[in-house]
C-alpha cells in the first residue's frame, strides 16, 4: 500500500519534472523535434554517425518522453542494434549467437534472430557523456535513489540551463541524503554557470566551497579559467570568490590526503605482509633461503583460476564464493608441493645455504616453465566477486577500494592464524623446538624430519593463500611470483629474521613509508630510496627490527 503510494507520488513528480524540462528547454533542438518524429530520431540512434547520434540524443532528451529511458540506456550499454537488411532499430539481448529483439518504443518482444543479421550501434566517449546527461535529465525521479544520485552527478558534469527548475523541484522532493547532496551540488554548479542573478551565483559558490570534493575543485577551476581578464567588476569579484573557494577546498583535501596516504600504505603493507608471511616461516623460522617462494604464491593464484573455472562449469550461481573455496584449495596445493620440495630437495641441503639458494632458484625456473607449458604463457582471467569490486569514496577524494580492504582483512586473519598455530598448538611447539634445538627436540621424541617437512609445507601453503589474494590485484601469469620475491625478503630481513611480529611491523612500516615517498620521489626513485634505507638500517641493526634474543639465536 505504502509502496504503491510512493510509486504514485514519484510518478506524478516525474511527470512534473519532465514537463518542467520540456518547458524550460531551449529552442535549439525545437526545430529538430518538429522536423523529425521520435521514431525517426531513434532510427538515427541505430545507424547514424557519432555527430548525428549526439544531435538525435539531445533532441530526444528535450521531448521528455519517459519511453526513451530504456532506449538511451540500451545505447549506452551497447544493447541497441540495427537490422542490416532494413535498418530496423531494436533493443537486443544476445545469448549464444541469437538476439532476442525488443521493439524500442513499444517495449514488446518482436522475436529472435541470429545476431549476425544485426549491427550493434556504436558509442564513443562524447556520445556517452551526452547520453548520461540525457538519462540524468530523464531519471531525476527514478524510484532507485542510487540512480537519482547518478542522474544528479551526470547533470553536475555537464550543467545545462534548462535543468535549473527540474533540479530545484527534485531537491524539494528528495529524502535520501546522498542523492540530495548530489542534487544540491548539481544545482549549485548549474546556477553558478547559468543563473542571471549575481546573488544566486554568489550563493552557489558558497555552497560549493563547503564541499571537500576534488570534482568541485575541478569544476570551479574550469569556471575560473572561463572568466577572461577583461571581464567586468562583478565577474572579477565572482572570480575572486571562486578562487578563495578553491583554496578552501584544497586545504581540506590536503589534510584528507595524508589520511589517504596512510590508508594506501596499510593496503600496500598488507600485500607485502601476505607475500612475506610464508617466507617468514620457510626463511625466517627454518632458515632456508627459498627462492621458489614466489612460485608457491603463483601456484596459489593458478589454483584460484582452476577453482573459478570449475565453479563456472558446474556451479555458475556460486561464482561469487569461489574464492572461499580457493583459499583452502590453494593452501593444500602449495602446501603439498612445499612438502614434496622439502622431502625431495631441501632436506639434503640443510646447513648449506649457497646450494639451497641455487637449488631453489633452479626450482623456481622449472615451476614457472611447467606452469607456462601447462596453462599457456598468457594471463589467466580471475574475476573479482561482486563483493570485492568497487570502492568506498570517503570525503576529500580519498578512495578505498573494496578488494584492498578485503586483502588487508585477509592478511591479518592469516597472520593471526599463523601466530595461533605457532603459539597454541602442539605442532607449533614442536616446530619451535626443532628450529631452536634440533638434537634436544629429537631426544624428546619429536620426529624432526617430519616437523621440517610440515613446517616447510605450512610456509608454502600460506604463500599459496597469498596467491589467492594477489590474483585479485595482479596478473595471473607464470611471472606472478617473481615480482614479490625481492619485496618478501626485504620485509622479513627488515622485520627481523625468525620473528613473525617483526614481519607484521616491517610490512606495514615499509608500505606506509613507500606511500609517503612515492608522491615526491616517484615510483622508481621511491623504491631505490627504500632499498638504500634498509641497507643502512641493516648495518645499524643486523638482525632487523625485532631481533630474536637468547639461545635461539645461535641455533
Amino acid at each position: 500500500m505504502v509502496h504503491a503510494m510512493v510509486t504514485q507520488a514519484l510518478g506524478s513528480l516525474a511527470r512534473a519534472l519532465l514537463l518542467c524540462a520540456a518547458l524550460f528547454s531551449g529552442t535549439a533542438y525545437a526545430q529538430a523535434i518538429e522536423a523529425k518524429s521520435i521514431e525517426d530520431l531513434v532510427a538515427i540512434l541505430g545507424a547514424g554517425d557519432f555527430t548525428a547520434k549526439i544531435d538525435a540524443t539531445q533532441a530526444l532528451a528535450t521531448t521528455g518522453d519517459p519511453r526513451l529511458v530504456p532506449i538511451l540506456q540500451a545505447l549506452l550499454d551497447g544493447n541497441l542494434y540495427a537490422r542490416k537488411s532494413d535498418h530496423l532499430v531494436v533493443i537486443g539481448k544476445e545469448q549464444g549467437g541469437t538476439l532476442t529483439a525488443t521493439d524500442p518504443l513499444a517495449e514488446k518482444v518482436i522475436g529472435q534472430a541470429p545476431v549476425a543479421d544485426f549491427e550493434r550501434a556504436r558509442v564513443n566517449n562524447r556520445l556517452r557523456t551526452v547520453l548520461q546527461t540525457a538519462l540524468g535529465a530523464l531519471q531525476l525521479a527514478h524510484p532507485d535513489p542510487s540512480r537519482r544520485k547518478a542522474s544528479a552527478d551526470a547533470l553536475f558534469k555537464t550543467p545545462s540551463v534548462e535543468m535549473i527548475e527540474p533540479l530545484r523541484l527534485a531537491i524539494e522532493h528528495e529524502h535520501n541524503g546522498t542523492a540530495r547532496r548530489a542534487l544540491v551540488r548539481a544545482l549549485a554548479a548549474t546556477e553558478l554557470q547559468f543563473s542571471e542573478k549575481i546573488d544566486a551565483k554568489r550563493a552557489a559558490v558558497v555552497t560549493l566551497a563547503a564541499l571537500a570534493d576534488p570534482d568541485v575543485r575541478s569544476y570551479l577551476n574550469g569556471r575560473i579559467n572561463s572568466i577572461p581578464e577583461t571581464a567586468n567588476a562583478e565577474q572579477q569579484e565572482l572570480k575572486a570568490a571562486m578562487t578563495a573557494a578553491v583554496v578552501q577546498i584544497e586545504r581540506r583535501i590536503a589534510s584528507w590526503q595524508t589520511f589517504g596516504n596512510v590508508l594506501q600504505g596499510i593496503s600496500l603493507g598488507s600485500v607485502l605482509l601476505l607475500a612475506a608471511i610464508g617466507l617468514a616461516i620457510t626463511f625466517g623460522v627454518m632458515g632456508v633461503i627459498n627462492m621458489a617462494h614466489g612460485e608457491m604464491v603463483m601456484l596459489g593464484a593458478y589454483t584460484t583460476y582452476v577453482v573459478q573455472l570449475a565453479f563456472r562449469q558446474y556451479l555458475p550461481g556460486g561464482l561469487d564464493y569461489a574464492l572461499l573455496v580457493a583459499v583452502p584449495a590453494a593452501f593444500a596445493v602449495s602446501g603439498l608441493v612445499g612438502v614434496a620440495i622439502e622431502r625431495g630437495i631441501i632436506r639434503w641441503l640443510y646447513g648449506r645455504p649457497l646450494e639451497t639458494l641455487l637449488a631453489t632458484w633452479g626450482l623456481s625456473l622449472m615451476l614457472q616453465q611447467a606452469v607456462r607449458s601447462f596453462f599457456g604463457p598468457t594471463n589467466m582471467q580471475v574475476t573479482s566477486p561482486s563483493w570485492m569490486s568497487g570502492a568506498v569514496e570517503l570525503t576529500g577524494g580519498v578512495v578505498v577500494t573494496y578488494n584492498r580492504i578485503w586483502i588487508a582483512v585477509f592478511a591479518l586473519l592469516v597472520f593471526g592464524l599463523l601466530i595461533f598455530i605457532q603459539r597454541r598448538t602442539q605442532f607449533g611447539l614442536q616446530m619451535r623446538a626443532v628450529t631452536q634445538n634440533r638434537r634436544m627436540a629429537r631426544s624428546m621424541g619429536i620426529r624432526s624430519g617430519w616437523v621440517d617437512a610440515l613446517t616447510f609445507g605450512l610456509g608454502s601453503g600460506i604463500a599459496g593463500m597469498a596467491g589467492v589474494a594477489l590474483s585479485q590485484i595482479d596478473n595471473v601469469s607464470p611471472n606472478l611470483g617473481q615480482g614479490y620475491i625481492v619485496d618478501s625478503f626485504m620485509v622479513v630481513v627488515f622485520g627481523g629474521v625468525g620473528n613473525l611480529w617483526g614481519t607484521l611491523v616491517g610490512a606495514f612500516g615499509l608500505g606506509i613509508i613507500n606511500k609517503f615517498l612515492e608522491p615526491y620521489a616517484g615510483a622508481v626513485l621511491g623504491k631505490i630510496l627504500v632499498l638504500v634505507a634498509i641497507v643502512l638500517f641493516i648495518q645499524w641493526r643486523p638482525r632487523g627490527l625485532f631481533a630474536l634474543k637468547g639461545r635461539a639465536v645461535e641455533a
Binding site: 557519432f50 551497447g78 556504436r122 558509442v123 564513443n124 566517449n125 556517452r128 557523456t129 548520461q132 558534469k157 576534488p214 570534482d215 575543485r217 575541478s218 569544476y219 570551479l220 577551476n221 574550469g222 569556471r223 579559467n225 594506501q264 593496503s267 600496500l268 600485500v271 625456473l365 622449472m366 616453465q369 611447467a370 607456462r372 607449458s373 599457456g376 604463457p377 598468457t378 594471463n379 589467466m380 582471467q381 580471475v382 574475476t383 569490486s389 570502492a391 569514496e393 577524494g397 578512495v399 577500494t401 573494496y402 578488494n403 590485484i473 595482479d474 596478473n475 595471473v476 607464470p478 611471472n479 617473481q482 615480482g483 606511500k515 612515492e518 616517484g522 615510483a523 622508481v524 623504491k527
Partner: protein, 431 residues
C-alpha cells in the same frame, strides 16, 4: 591418466624449449634443402606472455606456406630459439640462428631493448630481421624491416584524436610509461608535439614506473588530482607488459571513467585485456594499426585459420600478429621475385612490395624499411574487444625519424640509390 599424459607432454615441450631448438617438420619427402626461417621470440621469462603468441603465428604462417607447396619449390622450415626475455641472450641466439642454423631470414623481438641488442649482430653478419612491434622510431637499419608502427603511425594520431572534438578536446595530458627506452623516447616526441600545439609544459605530467609495477594507488590518485585543474585531461599510456593489468584494475576500482579521464594506450591490445574484466573500462582507448574486431573477409579468414591452428576458439589475435602476417607474406613475395633467398637480393625486392593487410587496404614496404599502415583508434568494450571509433582515411607512411625532435627532423632514411643511408641529411651518392 589423460592428465598424466598431458603433463608428460607439457614436460616434453618444456624440455624442447630448454634444449633451445624445436623445429616444425616440413611435409616434403624429397631431398630439396629447406629454406630456413628463424623465429627469435622469448618463450620463457617476462616477455613470454606476449612473444609466445608471435612464435605460434610464425609456425602457422610457415605451415600454411608448406601446405601451398613451399617456396621456390623447396620446403620451408621454422627454426625456433628461446632468448628467454634476456636481452644479451637475444644477441647470442641471433648469432646462433645466423651462423649455426644458417637461416635465410629472422622474424622476432618484442621490446626495443632486445632489438637494440641484436642490431649489431644482424649488421655484422648481414642478416635480415623482421620486427613486428610498434616502437619509438629514431632508428633505421639496413638489415631490419620494421613492420610495426612508427610514432607517426600510432602515438601522434592518437594524441591528435584526444585533442579533437570526438576525442573530448583534451587540454591537459598525463604521460604514463614504463621506465625504458620506448616510453621515454615516445614521450619525448609527444611532449615536443604537444608543445607545438600550444600545450604548455605545466599541462603535461610525466611519470615512469618500473617493469611489473603492481601498486598503482598513488599514481592513479595523482592522475585524478592532476585532472582536477578544470581542463579536460587525458592519459597517454606507454605502460608495457605485466604492469597493465594491475593498472587497469586500479583505474576500474577507483572509478576513473573514460568519459572523465580517457586513457589511450599504445601497448594494450586484445591479448593484454584477455586476463581482465573489461566492463568497468568501457570507453578507454587504444591506438593500433589493426584490431581483431575489423569486419573484413581477410580478417575473418585469418582469425579462423588461427583458431584452427591453435585449437582454441577463445584465443584472440592482435596487432603484432598482423605485422608478422604482412611481413612474412611480403618476404615470400620478395623471395619469389628475386628467385633466391640471398639477403641483398631479397632486400632489393622488398622495396615497393605490396600486400593486402587485414583491413582490406594495401600495405606497402617503403624504402625507409617501414610499412604504410592505417591508424585506428578503438574503444574498449565489455567483451574485451575494441570498437573502432576513428581511423585515418588511407594508409600513413611510417617515418623513422620524428619531425618533432629537432635533432632528428632533418634526418632521412632511404636505403635505395642515391641515398643508401639510414640517417643522412643528404644522399650518399651524388652525380
Amino acid at each position: 591418466m589423460t592428465k598424466l599424459l598431458s603433463w608428460a607432454r607439457a614436460a616434453a615441450v618444456a624440455a624442447g624449449a630448454l634444449a633451445g631448438v624445436a623445429s616444425a617438420g616440413p611435409a616434403f619427402a624429397q631431398a630439396a634443402a629447406p629454406i630456413k626461417v628463424g623465429v627469435l621470440h622469448s618463450l620463457s621469462g617476462t616477455m613470454a606472455i606476449s612473444e609466445t603468441t608471435l612464435k605460434d603465428t610464425m609456425l602457422m604462417l610457415v605451415d600454411d606456406l608448406n601446405k601451398k607447396g613451399g617456396l621456390l619449390g623447396r620446403p620451408v622450415q621454422a627454426v625456433v630459439v628461446d632468448p628467454a626475455s634476456d636481452w644479451p641472450l637475444f644477441a647470442e641466439k641471433a648469432r646462433e640462428l645466423l651462423t649455426q642454423h644458417k637461416v635465410d631470414v629472422v622474424f622476432g623481438n618484442w621490446t626495443s631493448v632486445s632489438r637494440k641488442s641484436v642490431l649489431p649482430v644482424f649488421e655484422e653478419l648481414n642478416g635480415l630481421l623482421f620486427y613486428p612491434v610498434q616502437y619509438e622510431g629514431e632508428e633505421s637499419s639496413r638489415n631490419v624491416f620494421y613492420t610495426g608502427a612508427a610514432p607517426n603511425q600510432q602515438a601522434i594520431p592518437a594524441v591528435e584524436y584526444l585533442m579533437s572534438r570526438d576525442g573530448g578536446e583534451a587540454k591537459r595530458f598525463v604521460l604514463l610509461g614504463t621506465d625504458y627506452v620506448y616510453p621515454r623516447t615516445t614521450n619525448k616526441i609527444l611532449r615536443a608535439f604537444l608543445n607545438s600545439k600550444g600545450i604548455a609544459d605545466a599541462d603535461i605530467m610525466e611519470n615512469y614506473t618500473p617493469f611489473g609495477h603492481s601498486d598503482w594507488q598513488t599514481i592513479v590518485g595523482q592522475v585524478k588530482q592532476f585532472a582536477s585543474a578544470g581542463k579536460k585531461t587525458a592519459v597517454v599510456s606507454t605502460i608495457n607488459g605485466d604492469a597493465n593489468v594491475p593498472f587497469y584494475k586500479e583505474l576500474a576500482n577507483q572509478g576513473v571513467k573514460a568519459t572523465d579521464i580517457p586513457v589511450v594506450a599504445f601497448s594494450v591490445g586484445e591479448e593484454e585485456l584477455a586476463g581482465l574484466d573489461t566492463a568497468p573500462l568501457v570507453g578507454h582507448l587504444a591506438a593500433w594499426n589493426y584490431f581483431m574486431s575489423i569486419n573484413t573477409a581477410q580478417n575473418k579468414a585469418f582469425i579462423s585459420k588461427w583458431h584452427a591452428f591453435i585449437g582454441n576458439t577463445k584465443r584472440v589475435v592482435n596487432d603484432p600478429m598482423e605485422a608478422h602476417y604482412i611481413g612474412f607474406n611480403m618476404w615470400v613475395q620478395a623471395v619469389k621475385q628475386a628467385g633466391t633467398t640471398n639477403v641483398d637480393a631479397v632486400r632489393q625486392a622488398m622495396y615497393g612490395q605490396k600486400f593486402m593487410n587485414l583491413n582490406g587496404q594495401m600495405a606497402v614496404m617503403n624504402t625507409n624499411h617501414h610499412l604504410s599502415k592505417p591508424v585506428l583508434i578503438g574503444e574498449i568494450q565489455a567483451n574485451g574487444q575494441f570498437d573502432i571509433v576513428w581511423k585515418t582515411p588511407g594508409v600513413v607512411v611510417g617515418d623513422a625519424w620524428s619531425d618533432f625532435i629537432p635533432e632528428s627532423k632533418p634526418l632521412v632514411a632511404d636505403w635505395t640509390y642515391p641515398w643508401v643511408c639510414g640517417n643522412c641529411t643528404e644522399p650518399k651518392f651524388k652525380n
